[in-house]
């Protein structure tokens, strides 16, 4: 009996290392495929991260350049008030600085998720092409429209004087006066709309665009209405000038 127990102990002692080796081999054989998969995923993420960074950097650079050109456009506006010009310049300038900083942040990102988040931020928080660029262009158009309207207003004053003088000289100015009244009405309408567009568009922010993607289209349409009214006033002015020449 004692001999059987001793033999069993010896056998177990001999088998234990073998079983341990077998278990270790089994573990090794199962862990090898897992490590290979992790290495493959890392490579794919790295490629994706590089692609996002490359394309994102190009898009950020494009926006920075666009905003720099916009600053020139703003500064060349003639009818824009100094305060409005300053407010617009600050907004565009701040966006430019922020996007430049985002560009640096994107370059330093180490994960796909963070890089993708940077790209989303570039679009949703700044809205360079969806809001800022058309906003500045609309304000500039309103500014140019007001410049033309100011000239029309000065001409209207001259025409009023000429018609009054002709009337005092005993000439029939009924038709000319009618044209002048029409010119004044058209010009007033154009001025109101143009000034209103500029005032309303100036404070718009990317969040306003997020709330209403068509917000700028409405102001653009308003400007077209102002343009039509100013054109009608100009046509009246030309007719009055021709009429005054006939009166002599």
């Amino acid at each position: 009996m004692k001999q059987r127990i001793a033999t069993l102990i010896i056998a177990l002692g001999l088998l234990t290392p073998v079983l341990s080796m077998a278990t270790a081999h089994a573990e090794a054989s199962t862990s090898t495929p897992r490590g290979a998969a992790a290495t493959g995923t890392s490579t794919a993420d790295s490629k994706r991260l590089t692609a996002i960074k490359t394309r994102g950097d190009a898009e950020l650079g494009r926006r920075v350049d666009t905003l720099a050109r916009l600053l020139i456009t703003i500064n060349s506006a003639t009818k824009l008030s100094d305060s409005s010009k300053q407010a617009l310049s600050e907004q565009v300038g701040n966006e430019n600085v922020a996007l430049a900083a985002l560009r640096v942040k994107l370059a330093a990102e180490t994960t796909v998720a963070d890089a993708a988040n940077d790209i989303k931020t570039m679009i949703t928080e700044y809205r360079v092409y969806a809001l800022i660029v058309p906003k500045v262009q609309i304000i500039r158009a309103a500014d140019d429209e007001q410049a033309a309207e100011a000239k029309l207003l000065a001409l209207q004053a001259k025409l009023t004087t000429r018609i009054n003088n002709a009337s005092a000289a005993g000439k029939d100015v009924t038709a000319l006066q009618t044209k002048l009244d029409d010119m004044a009405a058209n010009l007033t309408q154009a001025q109101l709309i143009s000034a209103g567009v500029e005032t309303s568009v100036l404070p718009l922010q990317p969040t306003d665009y997020d709330n209403d993607h068509t917000i700028l289209s409405g102001y653009r349409d308003n400007l077209k209405t102002a343009k039509i009214a100013a054109q009608a006033a100009f046509t009246d002015a030309k007719a009055i000038v021709a009429g005054l020449k006939k009166l002599g």
């Binding site: 692609a51 000239k151 000429r162 343009k227």
Partner: protein
Amino acid sequence: MEEAPMPFTPQDPKEPQAEHHPFAPRQQGSSSHQPQPVRSKRSKRQWILISVGIVVLLALLLDGYNFWRQHNTDDNTSNIATTPSNLSQQNTTPQSTGPNATDDASLNQDLKSINSSMDTSSSSQSAADKALNDKSSQIDVPTE
């Protein structure tokens, strides 16, 4: 041997025209008594006088036409003058519309300036339209 020139031979194409021209001087006596070069010189003088007369006449007609046209445009046809003296008087005497002439030029200049500004405004609106329709914001950055 070189042949001597014969200016009044029938081969000369100019001479017969001078002979039959209505303004040519009448020949006195026989042609053998009147030297041909003298007769040709008179004809040239007459032609010069006629040409000068025609030019002066055309100038007067043109001047008169311009005067008529100017006054007809201004609807002052009653003041049309037909004599050169009246013509010069019309041009130098200020009319009742004279003081407005400068104003008219100023108004025309204003119209041109406004027209230019309207063109600028139209260009700006086109740029705004273009910016609104720009699809640049729809970028294709791989985020997945």
